[in-house]
């Protein structure tokens, strides 16, 4: 079984809350849930919708077709009626529409009884619950979790009212629920906290804001300093200050804010202070489509910053990755004393998915900080070593020793110098760390066949949709597989080089106009893609869409 429910309306109509109620209920019924959110850059009005898909099998994408539409306004019906499957239904208030295309009910009349306009959508949710014969006690548990007192009572009442409006159509079998449901940004934030991040600062910018607000909500409880700064220039400089003083720190923004951090990124490179920086990409250039997704910043973050310095870039592929890789980013930043950039995007930041609970015992905190015992004489912050990594002291911890961090070219003590030999040595010392990093990076995930004839290359959040498409095509007997890059700079080439040798065709799938991963592959390997499936209209790929495009454009089958 595999169902999709779409809730559509205007901004300000409470879509998020309704979706949250429904996805928690479905999760607690023991199903896998995947919720995709499509919203406009406005506070009221416009058209927003949320699609909640649930299944007894693993799901990694939203669907193009839906089973149920809960329409909170007429526009939703007009925009989405063609997406309703044969046998599917549109549910709405009879004031919105009452012809035979829809199942309409007197929501407004019911609201007059409850006297709380805010629970209007919940009546519709009650209808949906009954449609699937979901027991009311599970729903009540969720309402209790999400709401307090009056809101709890009114929502429960609304659910019950909705529940009584129809007869059940489908008998949903209840299963054990052991999962959590979470979006990419919150998973990322949890990964940071698990890694011991004690300082996060940022300026609100979609789609990075929920990292800032989630961390702020647990700031006191977890003892993590969260600061809303005056601009993103301050953000990275402040994070570097905190890191210099010895705490793990992170900042995040979207591409526009990241652009303001670029000078400080270069500074992090020469000053050799660890930093974790998140770029939650959205459609650019400039303001672009502020609430739409894109993978347009890959080349930007790899090259951002004046001068030459080492950095690591990792792209997040799903909420699990967001948790574990973010925690790993802190260890790498500390070990090499470099900036580590985490690339995510609006799609992954916002979609929620049921997953196995995170295993916090797997998170290892490796600080690589010197206790000063092996330091003889005056401390050299930038001591030239074989590895290029200098022992790191925390200022204030060792009487008699001071720590001098400097943005100029400097000598081993951190003092300004223009000496050509020192300059050469220091440049090489820093860049040596990039060579070490090459042994640190992880090869891309391979999904599908082990030696595929059709080899897909992709990165980051397209993982879910690509996985769904590849698995469908494999079942149909095609020799297909995909490499999904997570670590992406320095660029891991081993697995790609191996598989490219035996593949007939390399297909690049990205959410951008120019095929930025493909250009990287061209630069770093003798290979490049034979075909590109690119999408840059701000909307994410679904599994179905990739499946169809592969069939039509690559396999040349008309379906």
């Amino acid at each position: 079984m595999d169902f999709s429910i779409l809730i559509g309306g205007a901004a300000g109509q409470g879509l998020d809350t309704s979706a949250q109620i429904l996805e928690f209920i479905l999760k607690r019924c023991g199903y896998n849930v995947f919720t995709y959110r499509d919203y406009m850059s406005r506070v009221r009005g416009g058209h927003n919708f949320t699609q909640i898909r649930f299944s007894d099998e693993e799901i990694n994408s939203f669907t193009e077709k839906v089973d149920i539409v809960l329409a909170l306004n007429e526009e939703t019906i007009l925009l989405h009626k063609d997406r309703v499957k044969e046998g599917g239904v549109v549910i709405c208030d009879e004031d919105i529409c009452h012809d035979d295309r829809v199942l309409s009910f007197p929501f407004r009349e019911i609201i007059k009884k409850i006297k709380n306009q805010k629970v209007y959508n919940t009546i519709g949710l009650g209808v949906i619950l009954k449609y699937f014969n979901i027991p009311m006690d599970i729903a009540e548990g969720v309402i209790k979790k999400l709401f307090k007192q009056r809101a709890f009572e009114d929502n429960l009442l609304a659910l019950k009212e909705g529940y009584n409006l129809i007869d059940g159509k489908y008998e949903l079998k209840l299963k054990e629920d052991r999962k959590i449901i979470i979006n990419g940004n919150k998973a990322l934030a949890l990964g940071a906290i698990a890694a011991g991040c004690k300082f996060y600062c940022g300026y609100p910018m979609t789609p990075s804001t929920s990292i800032l607000s989630y961390l702020s909500s647990i700031s006191n409880e977890m003892g993590i300093m969260v600061d809303q700064v005056e601009d993103e220039i301050a953000a990275l400089n402040m994070a570097l200050g905190a890191s210099y003083a010895g705490v793990r720190s992170m900042t995040g923004s979207s591409g526009g804010g990241f652009a303001l951090m670029v000078e400080a990124l270069s500074f992090a490179g020469i000053v050799e202070i660890p930093a974790v920086v998140v770029d939650a990409q959205r459609s650019g250039p400039a303001t672009g489509l502020s609430t739409r997704t894109e993978q347009g910043d890959l080349r930007f973050v790899i090259h951002a910053g004046h001068g030459e310095f080492p950095r690591m870039v990792m792209a997040l592929r799903n909420p699990e990755d967001a948790f574990y890789q973010t925690a790993r980013a802190f260890n790498i930043a500390d070990k090499y004393q470099i900036p580590v950039i985490i690339l995510t995007d609006l799609y992954l930041a916002d979609y929620t998915k049921t997953i196995e609970p995170f295993d916090f015992s797997k998170i290892k905190v490796e600080r690589h900080i010197s206790d000063g015992r092996n330091i003889n004489g005056e401390y050299k912050r930038y001591e030239i070593t074989d590895s290029g990594i200098s022992p790191r002291l925390i200022p204030g911890k060792i009487p008699g020793q001071v720590v001098l961090a400097d943005s100029h070219e400097h000598d081993e003590y951190g003092h300004i110098t223009e000496d050509p030999d020192i300059r050469t040595k220091m440049s090489i010392k820093r860049m040596k760390k990039l060579e070490l990093l090459k042994d640190e990076i992880q090869e891309p995930w391979l999904i599908g066949e082990e030696k595929p004839k059709i080899l897909i290359v992709c990165w980051g959040s397209t993982y879910g949709a690509v996985k769904e498409a590849v698995e469908r095509l494999m079942k149909e007997g095609y020799s297909i597989g995909a490499l999904v890059f997570g670590d992406i700079w320095p660029f891991p080439t081993k697995r790609l080089m191996e598989l490219a040798k035996t593949a007939d065709k390399i297909v690049d799938i990205e959410q951008n106009l120019t095929g930025q991963l493909d250009s990287l592959i061209k630069e770093e390997t003798p290979y490049s893609s034979d075909y590109k499936i690119l999408k840059f209209n701000g909307r994410p790929f679904s599994g179905e869409e990739i499946y169809m495009r592969l069939k039509n454009e690559v396999l040349k089958l008309k379906v």
């Binding site: 949890l190 004690k198 600061d227 005056e230 220039i233 705490v247 995170f358 600080r367 200022p395 961090a405």
Partner: protein, 282 residues
Amino acid sequence: MSCEYKLYEPSWCPGCGNYMIRTALKMALEELKIEPHEVVLVSGIGQAAKMPHYIKVNGFNGLHGRAIPPAIGIKLANKDLKVIVESGDGDSYGEGGNHFIHAIRRNIDIAHFVHDNQIYGLTKGQASPTTAIGQRTTLQFDGVKVEPIKPLALALTMGAGFVARGFSGDIPHLVYLMKEAIKYKGYALVDILQPCVVWNKVNTFSWYKNRVYHLPDDYDYTNKEEAMKKALEFDDRIPIGILYKEEKETYEDKFDFIKNGPPLVDRGLNPMDAERLMEEFK
């Protein structure tokens, strides 16, 4: 351990006001008996901003205009450190103007010493945000056409709790101001007038010397209106001293988890502590 601060050979021009400011800083820190490892000197870029290289102390020599944000990060990460921002007028009021405003809003416990020579030294003589209107420079050939910033008045209107002005040519007085600023719990601004012997031919040592005067002993630094008058007095006579002082809760003390407990840097990092956060998502 010793509270003596070692000095390094600077690359400042002979006669530069920075020498006197460094002497005052050394004296202030030594008299306060703060050890070098307990202080962080944070600076941006410019001649004044080279200070962390010329006195042995923890130093964070960052980017132009960006001295304040890392200073805030350092203080929040380790509240036990004495954090001093030392930078020029261009760095503090020009490139870093936004951070200056927001540092005052936060009232974090840092001392901010601005070497104000009313000119750009390192980049060779262009107007700074405090250069007088009409003054000819190496860039503003026919005179500066924009109003100078009035840093002390700006700080007062933003609600700063410690606003002072010093003069590099009056070291004992400057030592006093620096000590008071370092001891003050909150954001403390000391705008330090200093000559640039090479690039500013208007605001010379004697120009300042002839104008500065100590605020009288009976001056009431809790009177904000009076402080505002003194902050705007910058012509034939220029008052130096603590113009305004007020007790205020610091930013870091507004967070219970920072106030009550060891500095963040000294707290343990156990991933399992965060496991309970998953309840929300179950």
